[in-house]
């Protein structure tokens, strides 16, 4: 379907966002000698092998022991090191929430918690590994910055940017190959939303893999004479409230799109912003209080209502409520 659409952003290549993390880590590791890596037996999955090979003295294999990994990272940060921990998103959050809460967030430690295989697009491994609650858990922690980039290039840029940012960060990315549609030379500004497409009827706030679905949805809506604004919310916390309010002041209604539960995700953050400042219709595209299951990423996004078709439906619903 997307080939026949007049997309405002196009792609020539597809790559996984986790490779953006691995490549970004290697590049920032070369620039900043304080960057250290840790991984809990998933070096291949997290694409941390190149960093490990080039900087063996700055890389720590922790084995399958994520709680310990978070503590080791906190300890390393005390001397001024910038630890990047790598494991799957569910093992990076729920499994070690108390360790992150006490030893990293409350203690204001400069640890970068880098989480791959987030969301439904993990695919066939199924619900045990498809965490859909991580953004909520992490954004609730005081001092924590939460970032969910949309493609390879943005993930690489984000990985390098967080090394220069003082304070704990949760960086979420994924497993599947995905269109690369943002520039390779982009500057990643933490906390700054990126308006990708101008529109006047409805705003689509999207994060992570669903930014691409939002780009497709915009073209689909345009064919029906609906002008959608697309805003890439790569930083869930701190949220760029100004950009959100400015856009909704113009369009009058919005859709949020994320690979996460309704509860506690980007949609909830936007809803809080709108309700306090400019109550306007908002429709959620996300997972409605359920666990995932095995399947291909495309099948899962369709079954759980997280693709461009669903963004289009949600946009029309929001428009009708204006």
């Amino acid at each position: 379907m997307e080939k026949t659409l007049d997309l405002k952003f196009n792609y020539t290549d597809k790559k996984d966002t986790r490779s953006g993390f691995g490549d970004g880590l290697l590049e920032i590791g070369r620039k900043n000698p304080n960057v250290v890596g840790l991984c809990a037996d998933l070096i291949g999955s997290l694409k941390m092998g190149a960093f490990q090979k080039e900087f063996p003295e700055r890389f720590f294999q922790t084995g399958i022991a994520e709680a310990n990994m978070m503590g080791i990272a906190a300890g390393l940060s005390i001397s001024g090191k910038i630890p990047f921990t790598g494991t799957f998103a569910n093992f990076s959050t729920g499994r070690v929430y108390d360790q992150i809460r006490q030893s990293i967030a409350y203690s204001e430690k400069n640890v970068k918690i880098c989480a791959s295989h987030a969301g439904l697009t993990l695919g066939e491994d199924g619900a045990t590994h498809q965490i859909l609650e991580d953004l909520g858990m992490m954004k609730m922690l005081p001092n924590m910055t939460v970032i969910n980039p949309c493609d390879y290039n943005q993930t690489k840029a984000a990985t390098m940017a967080i090394a220069e940012h003082e304070g704990p960060v949760y960086l979420r990315f994924g497993r599947p190959v995905w269109p690369i549609f943002t520039p390779a030379d982009q500057k990643f500004e933490i906390g700054k939303a990126w308006k990708m497409i101008d529109g006047k009827d409805v705003t689509i706030f999207a994060t992570g893999h669903l930014v691409w679905e939002a780009v497709i949805a915009e073209a689909m809506l345009r064919e029906e004479g609906i002008s959608a604004e697309v805003i890439n919310i790569h930083t869930i916390k701190p949220l760029d409230e100004e950009a959100i309010l400015e856009s909704v002041a113009k369009t009058g209604c919005a859709v949020s799109a994320e690979e996460h539960q309704y509860n506690g995700g980007l949609g909830d953050s936007i809803a809080q912003t709108l309700i306090r400042n400019n109550p306007a219709p908002l429709e959620y595209v996300g997972v409605d209080d359920s666990f995932g299951e095995s399947g291909t990423p495309t099948q899962l996004l369709e079954k759980y209502g997280l693709n461009a078709d669903n963004i289009v439906k949600a946009a029309k619903k929001a428009l009708a409520r204006k």
Binding site: A65, N68, I72, G75, I78, K81, Q102, E108
Partner: protein, 283 residues
């Protein structure tokens, strides 16, 4: 810091015990039992064994670092930190009160000099200390990292993740101490969750283990720490099993878990203080 004699260290310890009791008494909350049991250890560490800088820099480069994993025994740590010049002794009167830097469990958000990480939720301090020790290795910093844990705390799974890791990575610039008082909140460790043989457990994990048989005798504590220090740098992490008695120094508090987390009343405080000479001046 000038080297102190055993007698001088004992004088400091007596004052530290007075501080602990008065702090816990004035807010009627806190954990006196294991604080009193670890008084010799903290005093020996800060007034004799560690190379440390009370002007306090978070990074702690080229100095020994100490981490408290069982954060509930904060009274003894706060007393020793203030008595060694990290912050004014008068600040001890703010313990556990609103707007204080002396939180019930140690915290860094309040920027209290001497504290490098929050603790209280058990099982996390060993990992943190190992990370700090590895950072020293990366930096070519020869100083040591110390960590204190509780014995009940050994029931936490993360401890064993960390124990495995430290041996695997040959973290031999680390001295971990376990306060072996054989008590935890609900009763004796033997009844709550039998630790059986911690020496054998840690040895089988690849650690060098020593016992400090009398953790409430200043001379033994100093000797134990000296011995532990002599065993560093040999490819293995070092564990010091510090045999103590909860509530040591106060006759009606000693050797029971009853005083784990309760405060003495006015009468009990007077009784306890009468057993402990005021040596450096009460705060």
């Amino acid at each position: 810091m000038e080297k102190k004699s055993t007698e001088q260290l004992q004088e400091v310890a007596s004052q530290v015990r007075r501080d602990i009791l008065r702090m816990v008494h004035q807010v009627q909350s806190g954990h006196p039992g294991a604080s009193l049991g670890c008084t010799e250890f903290f005093t020996a560490l800060y007034f004799d064994q560690m190379k440390h800088d009370n002007s306090f820099k978070m990074e702690g480069k080229n100095e020994d670092l100490f981490f408290l994993s069982n954060g509930h025994i904060s009274p003894v740590w706060y007393s020793v930190l203030s008595r060694s010049g990290y912050f004014p002794v008068s600040e001890l009167s703010t313990f556990r009160k609103l707007n204080s830097r002396l939180q019930g469990h140690p915290a860094t958000e309040e920027h209290l000099p001497g504290v490098r990480i929050a603790s209280g939720s058990l099982g996390q301090g060993l990992s943190v200390a190992i990370g700090a020790a590895q950072a020293k290795k990366i930096d070519g910093d020869d100083q040591l990292v110390y960590v204190l844990m509780g014995d009940g705390e050994q029931e936490e799974g993360q401890i064993w993740e960390a124990a495995m890791y430290a041996a695997h990575w040959k973290v031999d610039n680390l001295i971990a101490t376990i306060d072996l008082n054989r008590q935890q909140i609900d009763g004796p460790t033997e009844k709550i969750m039998n630790l059986i043989d911690l020496r054998a457990k840690y040895e089988s994990f690849g650690w060098t283990v020593i016992d400090t048989e009398n953790g409430n005798d200043m001379k033994s504590v100093v000797e134990g720490l000296e011995k532990a220090k002599s065993l560093t740098g040999q490819g293995k992490p070092v564990l010091n099993l510090l045999h103590t008695e909860m509530g040591f120094g106060v006759d009606f508090m000693v050797g029971t878990h009853k005083w784990h987390g309760i405060a003495p009343n006015d009468e009990q405080l007077a009784d306890a203080l009468a057993q402990l000479p005021e040596t450096l001046g009460d705060y």
